[in-house]
Symmetry: C2
Subunit: 204 residues, 2 copies
């Protein structure tokens, strides 16, 4: 131990954390969470991806949390019971908060059918949260059925399928409503970008 | 339904995702995960914070995952049993991967005492992963005891305390070893920065 001259005084046992403001100076942007909610097949991920592309092209740092990168990884231990679906959203909310804290413009695309869980995410994030209701009639979602899930649900092969055998609680006061059955993808994307611009998250 | 002229053709049910490379163009940096492991009181968070400050000052986008922002949020449902501690690290590994994918230089500071869980994180992240062993003798950690945890553990008030009543499995081939008992904080920080520079994550 005599070879360790400076010993216990070397490391001051306290940290001076890099703050959100410090990170903001580096990224040149403020974090926000765009929370897309809607039925399966409503077009959530399509719109979210298109928004992300526009933001990326404009030099904004973004990240999209969706089933593809969360359900198979962090939440790979969860199934589709009500309890597991709520735990899924609880974790997604917390991860979105971490990304928000890192000043990333964070897009979240999950059905998130329950008002209480979206309210939870809203309270977690605070003022930088936008609930985006992708309001597509179920008939149209079922007609699109991109993953063939409605077909399976109608046959009873998927228990608790949102809109058929499990409720979708529509948002009461969403920041943005997108009618993908009436408006073009471009128009839907523009609504979201306008919100970000108006709130000062992006320029121009 | 006649009021919806463009109907199901509006939203093409596929997404063209923004890729890691697209995000790299925006951030001007490649993601990496600096995984700090070591006993309680070893100085993990102190070194990690000091590294983060240097990186932030150099204009690099960083994020620190540690007990403060993960244990009270995402992993607030977990306790300190072996199973819960492993689930804690499993989730942290997946969140670190998401941040890596967003091209953030991600610092992880958890005791993470088990080889298998660090190996899991290493395999999840791949080549951009650095295991940083904060190699401080337990006598020194106990002497520092910044949170008074060793005192409690010795009294038997904390079950399964790493280094006392639960094992710490030292890394066998860590990318970086920091001897906080022998080297100054500045020297420890320089080791980490040199690794990042040498591997091309930062300049000059």
């Amino acid at each position: 131990m005599s070879a360790t001259p400076q010993h216990s005084t070397n490391i001051v046992p306290q940290k001076t954390a890099v703050s959100r403001e410090d990170r903001m100076r580096v990224s040149g942007q403020r974090g926000a969470v765009l929370w897309f909610t809607g039925l399966s097949g409503s077009g959530k991920s399509t719109v979210a991806s298109a928004v992300e592309q526009k933001l990326n092209a404009a030099g904004r740092l973004t990240y999209l949390l969706d089933g593809d990168n969360v359900r198979h990884g962090l939440n790979g231990d969860l199934g589709f019971s009500d309890i597991d679906r709520m735990e899924n959203i609880r974790r997604v909310g917390h991860v979105a908060k971490l990304f928000w804290d890192a000043n990333v413009i964070t897009l979240v695309s999950f059905i998130s059918p329950f008002r209480s869980e979206r309210q939870f995410a809203r309270e977690l994030i605070g003022a930088d949260f936008a609930e985006i209701f992708v309001d597509t009639p179920i008939e149209l979602c079922e007609q699109r059925d991109p993953k063939g899930l409605y077909k399976k649900a109608r046959k009873g092969e998927i228990p608790a399928f949102t809109g058929i055998s499990s409720p979708y609680e529509a948002p009461e006061q969403p920041e943005i409503v997108l009618k993908t059955g009436e408006e073009s993808l471009e128009t839907c994307v523009d609504h979201v970008l306008a919100w970000l611009r108006y709130r000062g998250y992006t320029e121009g």
